[in-house]
């Protein structure tokens, strides 16, 4: 078994779409913070400007998958079953952060909640809740 930091780095490096987003993550013990620096290609509304709602959802989903890769070690990517993304405020042209909470991890299914914020953690701009099918190494 590799360390959580190695698992996380493997996940971030192996998934091309994570690099497309420009997403990073930092680990403090088993607590992971995902980081999405602002980039012009992530914009969905040029008037505000604001991050694309899909990018926000994708960042939240990737945060859940990254957290699962840290705690549920597997060489395979876990699979999303369903997610609900709640949009609370516009995602401004700032760095975004997200943390995932594993509400329940069973043998096959994980229930995960994710919150995302920008300059003030008490003012989240989006949240996700979802179910994920855990991959087992065979």
């Amino acid at each position: 078994m590799s360390s959580p930091a190695e698992q996380l780095e493997t996940f971030l490096q192996r998934v091309p779409y994570v690099r497309f987003l420009g997403m990073r993550a930092e680990l403090a013990g088993d607590e992971m913070t995902a980081i999405l620096p602002f980039a012009p290609h992530l914009v969905g509304n040029t008037f505000l400007p604001a991050l694309h709602g899909g990018v926000i959802g994708a960042f939240l989903e990737a945060t859940a998958l990254a957290q699962l890769s840290v705690t549920q070690q597997s060489m395979r990517v876990h699979k999303t079953i369903d997610i609900t993304i709640e949009y609370l405020r516009p995602g401004r042209a700032l760095t975004s952060y997200a943390r995932a909470e594993l509400r329940k991890v069973g043998r096959r299914i994980a229930n995960v909640h994710v919150d995302a914020w920008q300059d003030d953690r008490s003012q989240p701009f989006a949240a996700l809740r979802g179910h994920f099918l855990l991959s087992a190494d065979t």
């Binding site: 779409y17 969905g44 899909g54 989903e61 709640e86 949009y87």
Partner: protein, 153 residues
């Protein structure tokens, strides 16, 4: 697309290809009608979500579904007598299966109910066969009308 007002077609074309994130993903407008729209996200190596299978990322599917739902809302807005802008309240996505390896994804959305304040949209996504879906989505949008009239929203 011949019976759709030109303004709706132009809006849809702009939305599908000129929005920065849509352009970055290489979106292509397939169709637009009143309260409906369809967009394709082509497969690309840098958009892969699972390097073991070369399947396009679920993140791209999320953005495609969100964007196509937004297109269905906007085509309602532009076709109506009182234009409005919208913001997404929530988006629920169910993944039926992974897309085929190295396959792009197509989404079609329909705004099936519009009230004074809220739009309800459903969408479907598939890769090769419309009868074998990759994902479905359900979204609610809040409408921002420039000049509210009459009773409070």
């Amino acid at each position: 697309m011949s019976e759709v007002p030109t303004t709706v077609r132009q809006m849809a074309e702009h939305m599908a290809t000129s929005v920065p994130q849509a352009a970055a993903l290489g979106f292509r407008l397939l169709s637009v009608d009143v309260a409906r729209g369809s967009i394709e996200a082509p497969w690309r190596e840098d958009l892969v979500g699972d390097p073991d299978t070369q399947v396009i990322s679920g993140g791209v599917v999320i953005t495609l579904l969100d964007h196509t739902c937004g297109l269905a809302m906007s085509s309602s807005a532009f076709a109506g007598t009182a234009p409005f802008s919208t913001a997404t309240l929530d988006l629920r996505i169910d993944y039926m299966r992974a897309a085929a390896p190295r396959a792009g994804v197509i989404a079609e959305a329909h705004c099936y109910k519009l009230t004074r304040t809220i739009g309800f949209v459903r969408a479907e996504a598939w890769d090769l066969d419309r009868s074998d879906l990759v994902a479905t989505a359900q979204a609610a949008f809040i409408l921002n009308r420039p000049h509210p009239t009459g009773a409070a929203a």
